[in-house]
Amino acid sequence: MQQWIFIKHWRDHQMANLESNFLGIKSPNPFWLASAPPTDKEYNVRRAFEAGWGGVVWKTLGEEGPPVVNVNGPRYGAIYGADRRLMGLNNIELITDRSLETNLEEISRVKKDYPNHAVIVSIMVPCEEAAWKTILPRVEATGADGIELNFGCPHGMSERGMGAAVGQVPEYIEMVTRWCKQYYSKPVIVKLTPNITDVRQPAAAAKRGGADAVSLINTINSIVSVNLDTMSPEPSIDGKGTHGGYCGPAVKPIAMSMVSEIARYPETKGLPISGIGGVTTWRDAAEFMSLGCGNVQVCTAAMTYGFKIVQEMISGLSEWMDEKGHTNIEDFVGQAIPNTTDWQYLNLNFIAKAVINQDDCIKCGRCYAACEDTSHQAISMSEDRVFEVIDGECVACNLCVNVCPVENCITMVEMPNGEIDPRTGKVVEPEYANWTTHPNNPSATAAE
């Protein structure tokens, strides 16, 4: 039965407008389905749009001719929480295994019927100009809104010199991007692999090639499990396994760090970013966007829970935007970038101490075990299980907060200026001072 969200009828609804304009491509919201099995065919994409998704990146097309073949055994492996909550997913599926012609026809039909939704076509053809020159006009003819270059797929296709094999060589990225800008008139998004040492280099190469945006991350090289009976990595195909691409909630921190590096790097600063990697809730999306992503792409959450999950993303983001007074998503995109800095610029005069709220404490002693065994011996334990912070030892490392099962039972409280830190015996100074000027730094720049 049809169900409605009716955000505009919420009693406390203010002005939040979730419409997204990414590279001039408009979509009803910033939630796109990433290039992956959910976007492999017309049937799925139509249903995704009906469910509320703002856009899709169609599953990667290869060149004309016999399509790739997939394995006929398991393609996925997973990491679970105790209640089989899926924390991470790994796959060894290749690009679309349907014919180019079929895909192009379906893309045309879908775009025609959904003019207000974003339809992006992911492409992966050999690293030869002719191959790109051949396919791009045919993609352009579908009326799709843009293309995404799959330079990230880490398994299978990379063995054939495509996917991550291209994405790991900045020069190839620049070259192919340039061909695409030459033979295709609409926006070109370059999808980056995380399987490299410095994600800023491929991003800069894409920009030099003329890319309109980058999207990241693609999946991470991974073996999710080994069957200890058969001694085969999983998923296991006839007793053998291979590395796959890791995605899902577990990869989000890695993806966000890479996004932030590109957003802060002088050569790539301002280059639009489509954020990918473990986006599972509206909050994940808002975090990616605060680090500079104009929109987000989702796959694992949809594969785990179905298309309907976008309803939570839409309602949650809308509610949060209302609460914060944001009327458009541009209002908060990139807001966290100025606060993302290098370690050397962190304020060393900021001093905090852990404080345990005894009313909330359930006396499990995890803070004590963590601090006593593995940190700074800064928590005491009485015979009747009262746990207290020893300010003279506490370095405010936050481990007690992280291991405490009760939210907000332990907090880090900033010491006021002028007080004496009992650990160091020094007065808490009001001025900002970082490592670059610290007397212990042999290369301090302005110590005097």
């Binding site: 929480g81 105790a82 209640d83 089989r84 359930i362 006396k363 499990c364 002693g365 995890r366 004590y368 075990a369 334990m381 299980r385 099962p405 009760v406």
Partner: protein, 446 residues
């Protein structure tokens, strides 16, 4: 079957024949593998965990739960059984709500403790259902110890002694081993013959011989045992029951709850057990609740549990009280029985309402009763025992009695609550002390 719950008097077969199995089915069915993973994930692995302190046998609960969580329930079982060889039974019958689960920090935090008892059963059942006995005996010591009474204390002591290399002869007056596990606990707490299965499993260690029909006082004397064995452990339980001290106590229909429970546990077909239409159970402990609930399960129409003080003073835990209430038992407090009426068979019981300090109020109440079950405490039968302290055999922390070479534990001895788990701990600890004592003495007695 023509009888129903409405049939007056004491009759069998009040329920449909095929409903008895479900009436007496497992109170807490075994968790499945996934349920166990989810339940175990709730454990915080507390430092110096309060649940361990609360367990009379001091099982390392966070460790065994983590072993379940990481997919090694058999390792969890070994952790449990190393500390408590009857961990399987304790998982079923322990009042966890007043022991480990009461101490669980999640009880404090949310009122929802980790399901320690059910997880313990998951682990021990997992191991035992494979027929695995995980312990091996040490080299024989040549010593033989007599254990009197094959209940939890005696069997725990026997197993530990056997493991340490001693031979053990268990002397049991009844024709079956297990003690209260076999005779004295509600059927729905230990289904499918688990009590006997556990004894058989426990005895797989080897070196334990059980001789039946051997009662201290009748068939054996303590001095004979001392002459024949290197050491003696007394775990004879409490053989007697307190009497109401009222006229008419000998009327038909008045019986002690221990006997009622024992008959029920030993019945091949509980449908054949006669039960009253109006049953009154007197007492406020676990035995009273076990009797009252089972009377209800047998099809009694009205079951009243009558206790002389308030519910907060009952020895039965709140969980047990709630269980009784949920099964339809009426809990009546602040009443003491003053008369049993009836011609030959009891027909009515009369109570006086009393204040918290047990002073009478002068107000009387009569209840129809065709069965009165008394559960007002069990007593030690002194058959030439070591010195008593109060009404039990006096022992020190290691179970030593006033007589050298004689140890005691379980319900017959001082110290701890009368619980299976306490008995297991006392038997185990006495075994360790006996082992220590025997290590210093010469081999065997003639």
């Amino acid at each position: 079957m023509s009888e129903t719950s409405f049939t007056p008097g004491v009759v069998a077969g009040r329920l449909e024949a095929d409903s008895y199995d479900s009436q007496f089915s497992d109170l807490h069915p075994l968790l499945d593998g996934h349920e166990a993973l989810v339940a175990s994930d709730r454990c915080y692995f507390c430092h110096d965990a309060p649940c361990i302190t609360a367990c009379p046998t001091a099982i390392d609960i966070p460790l065994f739960i983590r072993q379940i969580a990481t997919g090694t329930p058999d390792a969890a079982a070994k952790t449990i059984l190393s500390q408590n060889i009857m961990g399987g039974m304790c998982a079923r019958v322990c009042p966890t709500e007043t022991l480990c689960e009461e101490a669980c920090v999640r009880e404090l935090a949310e009122g929802k403790p980790v399901l320690i008892g059910q997880l313990q059963r998951y682990a021990t059942d997992h191991l035992q259902q494979q027929g695995i006995h995980p312990f091996e005996r040490a080299e024989p010591t040549g010593k033989t110890v007599a254990v009197v009474g094959a209940g939890p204390a005696g069997l725990s002591c026997a197993h530990r002694l056997a493991m340490l290399g001693h031979d053990v002869v268990v002397l049991e007056p009844k024709a079956k081993s297990g003690g209260l596990n076999e005779f004295g606990i509600a059927a729905y707490k230990t289904t499918d013959g688990y009590a006997q299965a556990e004894v058989d499993w426990l005895c797989q260690i080897g070196g334990i011989t059980i001789q039946y029909g051997q009662a201290l006082g009748a068939d054996l004397t303590l001095s004979d045992l001392q002459g024949q064995y290197d050491a003696v452990f007394l775990s004879i339980g409490l053989g007697g029951v307190n009497a109401l001290g009222l006229a008419g106590e000998d009327k038909d229909g008045v019986l002690d709850a221990v006997e009622f429970i024992s008959d029920l546990r030993q019945a091949d077909d509980v449908a054949l057990l006669p039960i009253g239409r109006d049953v009154v159970v007197i007492g406020g402990g676990m035995t009273a609740v076990d009797a009252a609930v089972q009377a209800k399960l047998l099809g009694a129409l009205n079951v009243t549990l009558a206790y002389r003080r308030g519910r907060d003073r009952m020895n039965a835990s709140k969980f047990e009280q709630d269980l009784a209430a949920s099964k339809g038992v009426r809990i009546m407090t602040h009443v003491v029985p003053v008369g049993l009426h009836g011609n030959g068979a009891v027909r009515e019981i009369e109570f006086e309402y009393v204040n918290d300090d047990m002073s009478g109020t002068g107000q009387m109440v009569k209840l129809q009763a065709d069965q009165v079950l008394t559960a007002i405490g069990q007593v030690l039968l002194d058959e030439g025992l070591p010195a008593l302290k109060g009404r039990k055999i006096g022992v020190d922390d290691t179970g030593r009695t006033s007589i050298a070479g004689v140890w005691a534990g379980g319900d017959c001895a001082t110290g701890g609550d009368d619980l299976t788990v306490t008995a297991v701990a006392e038997g185990r600890d006495a075994a360790m002390d006996i082992h220590k004592a025997l290590a210093g003495s010469s081999n065997g007695k003639s």
